[in-house]
Symmetry: C2
Subunit: 155 residues, 2 copies
DNA sequence: GCGAATTATTTCAAGCATAAACCTTTAAGC
DNA sequence: GCTTAAAGGTTTATGCTTGAAATAATTCGC
C-alpha cells in the first residue's frame, strides 16, 4: 500500500482551476476574435466601439465619462479616445452637464441608436451560433457558476 | 389557457447564450485585470510577456515566430514586438534556423527560464485564489462544456 | 534553370489599453 | 473668504493588437 502523503501532491485542485482558466481564456479569445472579425467586415466597426454603444443604448439619458468607464471596467483615458471617434462619426454626442462644468454627458445620436439596433441584432445571432454547442439550460447553469467567481472577487 | 405561440418568443435560447457570453467576458476580463495587476506589481511584467514565456517554456527547443503566433492565436506582427522586448531584457534569444534564412527560432535564455519558473508558480496561486469559488470537479466539468464550444467553432 | 507562387517575417498605420501626471472645477473646513 | 481636498477629465508615455503592405528567401511547375 502506498501511504497517503499530503506533501507529494500539493494542490491538485489548483491545477484543475488553472486548466479551467486557460480554457476560459481560449474560448473567450476565440469568440472575441470571431465577433471582432464580423464587426469589422459587416459594419466596419470594432468591439470597443460596440461595447460603448451598447452601454449608451441602455442609458438614453446619457452617461458621464466616469460612469462609462466604470460600467465597462476600463480606464478613464481609454474611454476618452473611443468616445472621441464615435463623436467624429456622428454616432455619439457630448452635452454639458448643467451645474458642473467639469463633466459632460455622452449619449447616442439618432443615427447612433439606429446603427446600434442593427448591430446588436446581428451580434446576438453571431453569439447564438458561436455558443450553439450549449443548450439554454447549460448556459444558465454556467452563468450561476461564473457569478460565484465574480462575487468572490468583489470582496 | 394561453395558446402556445412559437412566434411570440422568437429565440429564448439565443438570449440565454447572449447572457452567458456577456458573463464569460466579464469574468475573463475581471480575472485578467487581477492577473495583469499582480504581474505588474510583483514582476514588473505583463500578460502578453507571460503568455509568450509560457509558450516558450513548453518548447525548450525553441519556436519559430509563426509557430508562436499560431499557438497564441495572435497576429504575426504582434509577436515581433513582444519578443523584441523579451530579447532586449535577456529573457529570450533568437537563433538562426539552418537551411532557412527567413526564419528564426526563439527560445528562453537560462535567465528567462528561471524567471518564468518563479512567475508561473505565483501565477498558479493567483488563479487558484481567483477561481477558488469553484470546486475542482466543477472546474473539470466546465472545461468539457467549453471544449464543445471550441470544437464547434473549429469547423 | 527560371519565373511564379508560397512561406516567414517585419514594418506600418490606426486603434485600444493602462497607469501616472496634470488641469480644472466643485465641495468642505475653518 | 481662503485653503485644501476631492471629483471629473484629458494628456502623455508606453505597450499591446490588428490587418495590410512590404521584404526577402524558399519551393514549385515546367
Amino acid at each position: 500500500m502506498t501511504s497517503p502523503d499530503p506533501e507529494m501532491t500539493p494542490e491538485p485542485d489548483s491545477k484543475a482551476r488553472l486548466r479551467l482558466w486557460l480554457k476560459l481564456l481560449k474560448v473567450t479569445r476565440s469568440v472575441e476574435a470571431d465577433l471582432r472579425e464580423a464587426l469589422r467586415t459587416e459594419f466596419a466597426s470594432t468591439l470597443p466601439r460596440f461595447d460603448v454603444m451598447s452601454a449608451l443604448s441602455r442609458h438614453a439619458e446619457g452617461l458621464k465619462m466616469s460612469e462609462l468607464s466604470g460600467l465597462l471596467k476600463v480606464s478613464n483615458g481609454n474611454v476618452t479616445g473611443i468616445v472621441e471617434r464615435l463623436v467624429e462619426d456622428g454616432i455619439a454626442l457630448r452635452e454639458a452637464v448643467p451645474g458642473d462644468r467639469r463633466a459632460s454627458r455622452v449619449r447616442l445620436t439618432r443615427k447612433g441608436a439606429e446603427e446600434f439596433a442593427r448591430q446588436a441584432s446581428e451580434h446576438e445571432h453571431w453569439v447564438n451560433e458561436l455558443l450553439g454547442a450549449l443548450e439554454a439550460e447549460e448556459a444558465t447553469a454556467m452563468i450561476l457558476q461564473l457569478d460565484r467567481i465574480i462575487r468572490e472577487e468583489a470582496q
